[in-house]
């Protein structure tokens, strides 16, 4: 730990309680931050870490408890109050103005929040920023427009803006989720610089390995309560996981079920077959599919592994008629079909579960139960028109139990649930449809470890028990190898290789070598 000043803590939060209409988000949580320290906030989704952070930067006000900054009790009624007390935050959403340059952004933001800095006195401000860049060893082009920067660099710009406002408490909410490992190193270096300048950093994450790497102390939250605060140098992954999950973590690494994988006879007619599929992108960000060939048989779990930009989502959406086919054919049980829309796909027993649950999945103002049954009207209603409330409730309650969805009731608005639980609601929606082929796009991204394991196990269980086929699109190689009976490797819009997953370690090596061969070209 860095040298402690004689001064007290930078920040003390005492007895913070926050209650939302149906959920106790935080229950008497205390937290403190020393200068020159990186203090990690660890916990599963729904544990309360984001809520605590939002209280610290003034987005929420606590129902109980107080906040003391540098020895003075303060009331943070909005983020501006927080900024005025030297607290700055960085969330996953970048709040920079994309069409302006780095320099313009820093100057605008800085002078907006800090009265002493003036956008009008550009030279003085520029000099100040250049000094900061030198001091922190940041390598960035001040005249580059922000929209062209990488995510990591955008974060660095935000931090630079914060530094120019004399911030001394830096709050980070899951900063590493959108970053590659190289970019993570960059951010960590900057955080270490902040440490050396006696700034305080609060680092919220659900990634245990990261907290051990960068934090000095770690506070673990679970279900809104503080489990404990530990010294990062004196603990290990197992202990942290135990505190986070509260259970025995022998099942942490998901490997079961592989024994049941069966050999597919090549003579069987596949449930779905794609031959020579090419797609036409309708948006500039869409990845065009080229010569995609794949087969999915009945009663199997197939995974497609590929990094971001490989075209997995486009492929998934092709199977429900959203991505436009330019060339090639789709065969359903041996017959050629044209899939016109998600409704048409569903009538053929194909359902696509989106990865973007907020924009395309969850219907926020509808209840949890309504979200689940929206695709399954024919099963819960009379003639597809009149809803039978009792018929609806039974599968709803069953799924809440089976998938362990944390919700006060089936009838609260779905927007009240945490991200991981929303994902489970979507999974319930997919299961309620009775579809024969479930396409699940990134089932566990942005979800904590506990829920990840649950969902992966559920997927295998579903296929084994009900005989439906599942196609999982994932950028997580462990996930692909952990649940797939057959694994496809996809890159740049096309299928690179196909493997039967009888020896995961060997297949892993093969895929990695396939990947390096592509990169070398």
């Amino acid at each position: 730990m860095q040298g402690m000043n004689k001064q007290n803590f930078l920040l003390i939060a005492e007895g913070i309680t926050k209650i939302f209409p149906e959920v106790v988000a935080l229950d008497n949580v205390s937290f403190d931050l020393k200068p020159g320290e990186v203090h990690g906030l660890l916990g599963q989704n729904g544990a309360g870490k984001s809520t605590l952070l939002k209280i610290l930067y003034g987005y929420y006000t606590p129902d109980k408890g107080r906040i003391i900054i540098k020895g003075n009790e303060v009331k943070l009624k909005n983020p501006r109050d927080a900024r005025n007390h030297g607290i700055t935050f960085s969330t996953q959403e970048i709040t920079l103005l994309p069409h302006l340059t780095v320099l313009e952004n820093i100057m605008l933001l800085g002078s907006y929040w800090n009265k002493e800095l003036s956008y009008l006195n550009k030279e003085k401000y520029l000099g100040y920023i250049l000094e900061l860049i030198k001091e922190y060893g940041i390598k960035i082009n001040l005249n580059e427009k922000v929209r062209y920067l990488s995510t990591a660099n955008k974060m660095i710009v935000q931090m630079l803006a914060a530094l120019s406002m004399n911030a001394y408490i830096f709050l980070f909410d899951e900063p590493t989720s959108p970053l590659s490992s190289y970019e993570v190193e960059k951010i960590f270096n900057l955080i270490n610089m902040l440490k050396s300048k006696d700034k305080g950093v609060v680092f919220v994450t659900h990634r245990v390995d990261e907290t051990l790497k960068i934090c000095d102390r770690i506070t673990i939250l679970r279900d809104g309560k503080k489990v404990g605060t530990v010294d990062a140098h004196k603990t290990n992954e197992e202990e942290l996981l135990k505190m986070m999950l509260g259970t025995n973590i022998d099942e942490f690494y998901f490997v079961e079920g592989r024994k049941e994988m069966k050999e597919i006879t090549k003579t069987e007619t596949p449930l779905i077959e794609l031959r020579g599929i090419y797609s036409i992108p309708t948006k500039p960000t869409e990845v065009p599919l080229r010569d995609v060939n794949l087969r999915i048989y009945e009663n199997e779990v197939v995974t497609i592994f590929g990094i971001i930009g490989a075209g997995k989502t486009e492929l998934g959406k092709l199977l429900v008629g959203i991505t436009k086919t330019a060339r090639g054919d789709i065969y359903y049980k041996g017959k050629k079909i044209k899939i016109k829309s998600p409704a048409y796909a569903l009538s053929n027993g194909i359902f696509y579960l989106t990865e973007d649950r907020r924009a395309e999945g969850i219907i926020p103002l509808l209840s949890v139960l309504e979200n689940m049954s929206i695709s399954a009207f024919k099963n819960v209603s009379l003639g597809g028109i009149i809803i039978n409330a009792f018929k609806e409730r039974e599968p709803g309650t069953r799924f809440v139990k089976e998938l362990n969805i944390k919700t006060p009731s089936l009838y609260v608005r779905a927007s009240n649930l945490s991200g991981g639980n929303q994902q489970k609601v979507l999974l319930a929606r997919a299961l309620m449809t009775g579809a024969k082929l479930l396409i699940i796009d990134e089932p566990t991204v942005g979800i904590d470890i506990g829920a990840k394991i649950e969902i992966r196990r559920k997927i295998r269980e579903i296929s084994l028990k009900t005989g439906i086929s599942v196609l999982v699109l994932t950028s997580d190689l462990d996930e692909a190898l952990g649940i797939g009976e057959r694994v496809y490797f996809m890159h740049d819009g096309t299928i690179v290789s196909e493997y039967t997953n009888n020896n995961p370690d060997e297949i892993r090596r093969k895929i990695i070598s396939d990947f390096s061969n592509i990169v070398k070209k």
């Binding site: 209650i19 209409p21 149906e22 959920v23 106790v24 429900v320 959203i322 829309s341 998600p342 409704a343 796909a345 569903l346 009538s347 359902f351 696509y352 989106t354 924009a359 395309e360 999945g361 969850i362 219907i363 926020p364 103002l365 509808l366 309504e370 929206i374 695709s375 009207f377 209603s381 597809g384 028109i385 009149i386 809803i387 409330a389 006060p408 929606r429 449809t433």
Partner: protein, 338 residues
């Protein structure tokens, strides 16, 4: 539920009860859709009764309130269907005006009232279907489609009568009769319509899809539900409701209709829906809300007239103020509004 989970729910309930009564009331207000229109309704009712109990509560006057609310409530319901879906409909005024005129013309030339009513309803339903087709299938913004509709159907009104009014449509007096129940027929019809739609919006798949579309249309589409069809039907049904309201207007406008009948009524429809708790952002709102909202508007106008403010402009100004005052209640919880 396991005992630990039960305990936690109790904990939450206990902690929630420990709030101050004002806090509890506010939370109730925010989470229950019916509370939003109920508050202004009760307020205006109490205000009206206190300002002039003699005149306001006179049976003759109450009847007036009822039969003036009836058509507006139907316009507001049709509008609410659209707004809940996240769209907007600017045609209530023009279409109901057209309906009144159309029915009047047919009655004048053929004299058969049921025939006129049926044809009129078919016509307005078709207009609604046209709107629905343009919005749901051709994907033109509802604001644009219905703005055009507003102009077009008003122009049609002007051309089919050459600008002159139609008098003496006393065949429609049955609409205003109360058949010894003190409630005029028009209002009974409105009530029946509302009961039907209460069921439709809360208990049918179509109703739920409408709310879902207003909340997240992309998700509805991806979930394999026929979102476009539901949208189309909503506009079509709204057209039907506007037609019904238009026919009622023949009765409530002293049996005289002219090309300017129901001019500007789309604003009343929207205002009534908004006061009724139908958020303009869509996805939420209680089906009875528009009825309460319509009442608020009519009672307000009524009490202003009783107090002597018979000028149209003053009434409009006050209605405008009320709408702006009611609006913040609808955006509670939103961080920014466009």
């Amino acid at each position: 539920m396991s005992t630990t989970e039960k305990k936690k729910e109790e904990e939450i309930a206990v902690k929630s009860k420990r709030k101050s009564p004002l806090r509890a009331l506010l939370d109730f207000y925010n989470t229950h859709d019916l509370a939003r229109p109920l508050l202004p309704f009760i307020v205006i009712l109490i205000a009206a009764i206190s300002i002039s109990p003699i005149y306001f509560l006179a049976p003759v006057n109450l009847k007036v309130v009822l039969y003036q609310t009836a058509p507006i409530a139907l316009l507001a319901l049709g509008e609410a269907l659209t707004i809940i879906m996240g769209s907007i409909d600017l045609t209530p005024g023009s279409v109901s005006g057209f309906a009144a005129l159309f029915a009047g013309l047919i009655t004048l030339n053929i004299g058969n009232v049921p025939y006129a009513i049926v044809l009129t309803l078919l016509a307005t339903t078709a207009i609604g279907a046209l709107n629905g087709f343009l919005v749901a299938r051709l994907k033109i913004y509802s604001f644009i489609v219905t703005l055009a509709g507003l102009e077009i159907w008003r122009a049609v009104d002007l051309s089919i009568t050459g600008g002159s009014p139609i008098y003496g449509l006393h065949q429609y007096s049955f609409l205003m009769q109360d058949f010894h129940t003190f409630i005029p027929l028009v209002f009974i019809i409105t009530l029946i319509v509302y009961v039907v739609f209460l069921f439709i919006l809360m208990r049918t798949t179509w109703g739920r899809i409408i709310y879902a579309i207003g909340s997240n249309e992309e998700a509805v589409h991806l979930s394999g539900t026929h979102a476009s069809l539901a949208k189309f039907l909503a506009f079509t049904v709204a057209g039907f409701l506007y037609g019904l309201a238009g026919i009622m207007l023949i009765g409530t406008s002293a049996y005289i209709v002219d090309p300017w009948t129901a001019y500007g009524y789309e604003l009343y429809a929207i205002a009534a829906a908004v006061i009724g708790g139908i958020a303009l952002t869509g996805g939420t709102g209680h089906p009875i809300g528009p009825l309460l909202g319509a009442f608020v508007l009519t009672i307000l106008t009524n009490i202003l007239i009783i107090m002597g403010y018979t000028q149209y402009t003053i009434q409009e100004i006050i209605i405008g103020i009320i709408i702006i005052a009611a609006a913040p209640a609808l955006t509670r919880g939103l961080r920014w509004v466009k």
